[in-house]
């Protein structure tokens, strides 16, 4: 790919300054020394070597891999091609100048088209056909060129239109019909194989093609971003692309993609937490003074208690009871919390879990004897019997059942964790149960995935429950969840 030098219009250091400001705005903690390092680093690596340049900046500015994705997006926006061919000067004109420039830089393309003329004269069918071939052969350069073509044809981008990149992405991908493309690729792979593919080989082929299609999607996305940058300018674009870092993603409003990221983030988090907690338990705790032993040893100092003796530290492990609302919007929150609690369950002497909507069910057995917590959580969502009347949250009734069936198991060693937004659909609150529970249990905590500002608005009665609980916390993202769990032990 030919690279225009952004230095041509903006001095590099200015560009870098803006870049770092944007990184900070996106939530990345960039310190002054790191800033200076980056400035020094770019003097050693030429900007033309884009990969190395990117990694050089990344190495000096991003010190947490979870932030890498955010960095990549900002990098792309700031140091991306900003040549004249990306300007959207009306669909017709842009298409005149553009494809020629691109094709001359991609020698392979002309032949592949078989003299079919410039990209513009291609029908959508021809484009699809070429795309199919490129995917089949894994021809990277061709795929890039076609991704550009596709964006130009299908995205329908107009200068100055205040529409987000996702809209264009959706439009382009819908026209490319990538789902049926995968099936076609598989069929053709079957045909080409000397003997029929076994299931196993088929699976591998499919993964390979899926991987190529993913790459194509990434190309399309990058192309759209490039064009948007050309249209709106760097700062505006970076602002619209700003996304929360994984640990700040709101449980209740996470998109499907963010959910997948969260699921990936939770495993290392639990591992980290488990190591840290185990360490905390082993260190820094001293038992109470062992009076008898101290006096016994004082005899050798003539009765002066010179050497205090302590009891062997045996911190009691708490018993956990988790009661989680798994209705609608709070379900994902409950899922993450259950996941986390079970991942560190060796920090507790016993963990029991209950889920409810308007009925309540114990789900401890799903977690017993399985190493796969994700699977157990999935079973909770599909198999637990939690609907009593209509499947709308009824905290009062759920607590009723809990107290009646399991109330006797709540003891002075039990920590009760209640998860939910306390949106009770105007049913009776039965908050006396929480009060009773608080008397019997060691601690009762309420975790609410809603922003604090929304508490006690509408049908939320979290305030009424919270008065009886030992603590009520806003837990909207992984960061808050992590810090709560650490406090808990």
């Amino acid at each position: 790919m030919a690279l225009a030098d952004p230095q041509a219009d903006t001095p590099l250091l200015d560009l870098l300054g803006g870049f770092i400001v944007e990184l900070r705005a996106a939530g990345l903690p960039v310190s002054l020394t790191e800033n200076l390092d980056a400035m020094e680093a770019v003097t050693h690596i030429p900007i033309e070597d884009r990969e190395a340049f990117k990694y050089a900046l990344g190495a000096t500015l991003v010190k947490n891999y979870a932030h890498w994705k955010a960095f990549e997006i900002v990098f792309e926006v700031y140091f991306t091609l900003r040549g004249p061919e990306y300007e959207l000067v009306g669909e017709g004109e842009a298409s005149d100048g553009d494809p020629d420039g691109e094709q001359s830089s991609l020698p392979g393309e002309g032949q592949a088209q078989g003299g079919g003329g410039g990209g513009q004269s291609l029908t959508p069918e021809q484009l699809a056909e070429m795309l199919f071939k490129a995917l089949m052969n894994g021809d990277g350069a061709m795929m890039t060129a076609l991704a550009r073509q596709a964006v130009k044809r299908f995205a329908g981008m107009e200068p100055g239109r205040p529409v987000g990149g996702t809209y264009y992405l959706y439009r382009t991908l819908r026209n490319l019909e990538l789902d049926s493309m995968l099936d076609r690729l598989m069929e053709s792979a079957q045909d080409q194989a000397p003997q029929p593919l076994t299931k196993f080989e088929e699976r591998l082929e499919r993964d390979e093609f899926a991987d190529r299609i993913e790459k194509l999607k990434a190309e399309v996305e990058a192309e759209i971003r490039r064009r948007l940058v050309a249209d709106r300018g760097v700062e505006a674009m970076a602002r619209t692309l700003r996304k929360p870092l994984p640990e700040d993603v709101d449980f209740m409003h996470a998109s499907r993609e963010e959910m997948a990221d969260l699921r990936k983030a939770i495993y290392p988090l639990t591992r980290k937490l488990a190591v840290r907690l185990a360490r905390k338990r082993r260190h820094g705790r001293k038992g109470a003074l062992d009076f008898r032993n101290t006096i016994r040893h004082s005899l050798s100092y003539g009765g002066v208690p010179a050497e205090p003796k302590f009891r062997f530290p045996r911190p009691a492990k708490p018993e956990m009871m988790v009661i989680a609302d798994i209705s609608g919007s709070v379900a994902s929150f409950a899922r993450f919390t259950l996941h986390l609690v079970y991942a560190i369950s060796n920090q507790f002497s016993k963990v029991r879990s209950f889920v409810f909507i308007d009925g309540l069910d114990e789900v401890t057995k799903f977690f017993e004897g399985t190493e796969d917590i994700g699977h157990a959580v999935h079973r909770v969502n599909t198999e637990a019997d939690v609907v009593w009347v209509d499947g709308h949250s009824d905290y009062g009734h759920a607590f009723d059942i809990f107290w009646e069936r399991y109330g006797k198991d709540v003891g002075p060693k039990t920590t009760v964790l209640i998860l939910g937004d306390a949106r009770n659909n105007y049913h009776a609150s039965q908050s006396w149960i929480i009060k009773e529970m608080q008397h019997k249990a060691r601690k009762v905590f309420w975790l609410n995935p809603e922003p604090r500002a929304y508490w006690d608005t509408g049908d939320s009665i979290v305030g009424e429950y919270a008065t009886h609980a030992d603590g009520c916390y806003e837990v909207r993202n992984l960061r808050q969840l992590e810090s709560f769990v650490e406090k808990l032990i």
Binding site: A41, A52, Y55, G58, F200, R203, A210, D211, K272, D372
Partner: protein, 296 residues
């Protein structure tokens, strides 16, 4: 200081000669570390060649590798230096009551009685060295502070002796498995390099490179199968070293084409958890139609 490398491509080529296949990111950061005189903090899943990178870099520039393996409870006397008190005692005894105390005291805290530990050794080395501080996330946060002086100033302060400055700035690698968040102070002083599982092409190259007698076809298959397995939601994805072990096994068994049965029978080399093996075996013996969700 003089630079060890010409340019990024040079680093990459030289690493390849030392049998380490670097991608642009890795080569670029090693190059930059040399130019900026900064340590590299390498993070990533287990078994992706973090430690190997340091070893290969040492081999590449013909330097001695000094390794400090971190563990919980590591302290100054194990990492930096220690006074050889037995020898000091001996010195006092041989001297007897004859000479005056000041002389003995000066003498006792001289280099002769200093036991150097890896960090100090790296600083005092005359010959080129590469310092590897392995699994730095295992030490406590407080112990991390020990490293700060050496990582930013390349010097060690010994109260009795004064400050020992590095004669040359060594290349320093710190590796971490990210079991805990490292302190800001430490991160700030380092260049950060994340080594993830390699992509298909690189993994194939690695297998070809590290497994003698493997043909290209099999290497390609191995790399593709491993990639598919990594896409599953596993407790522990197969690492590069496990991939290599697996490829070696296949070669030893005289297999030139992996089919579903061989793959399931030898899955225990790639995967180390019962549940992971079950999951993979189930995935790969099932009809592929039910698998779309893992790919989308």
């Amino acid at each position: 200081m003089d630079n060890r490398f010409e340019d990024v491509a040079g680093v990459r080529g030289a690493l390849a000669e030392a049998n380490y296949l670097a991608d642009d990111g890795i080569a670029g950061i090693v190059y930059l570390a040399d130019r900026l005189g900064k340590p590299i903090l390498v993070e990533g899943p287990a078994g992706t060649g973090k430690t190997q990178l340091a070893k290969s870099v040492a081999e590449m520039i013909g330097a001695r590798l000094i390794r400090l393996q971190c563990y919980e409870g590591l302290d100054e006397s194990k990492a930096l230096y220690e006074w050889n008190y037995k020898k000091q005692l001996l010195r006092i005894q041989t001297e007897g009551g004859g000479s005056n105390w000041d002389e003995i005291e000066d003498d006792l805290f001289s280099e002769e009685f200093l036991l150097t530990r890896p960090l100090l050794e790296a600083i005092r080395a005359e010959d080129p060295v590469v310092l590897l501080i392995d699994e730095v996330d295992r030490v406590e946060v407080e112990t991390e502070a020990l490293l700060l002086e050496i990582l930013s100033e390349y010097q060690v302060s010994i109260p009795e002796l004064g400050t020992v400055k590095a004669r040359q700035i060594p290349l320093v690698f710190l590796t971490s498995n990210a079991t805990r968040e490292l302190s800001e102070a430490l991160k700030r002083r380092c260049l950060f390099l994340y080594i993830d599982y390699p992509d298909l092409e690189r993994e194939r190259e690695i297998v070809l490179n590290k497994v003698p007698g493997i043909d290209e076809n099999l290497a390609d298959q191995v790399a593709r199968i491993v990639r598919s397995i990594r896409q599953l939601d596993l407790k522990k994805s197969p690492s590069v070293s496990e991939t290599i072990d697996w490829a070696r096994t296949l070669v030893l068994m005289g297999i030139d084409k992996v089919d579903a049965q061989t793959a399931t029978e030898t899955a225990n080399i790639l995967l180390k958890y019962r549940t992971d093996i079950d999951k993979a075996v189930k995935e790969f013996s099932e009809a592929p139609d039910g698998l779309d969700e893992t790919e989308s």
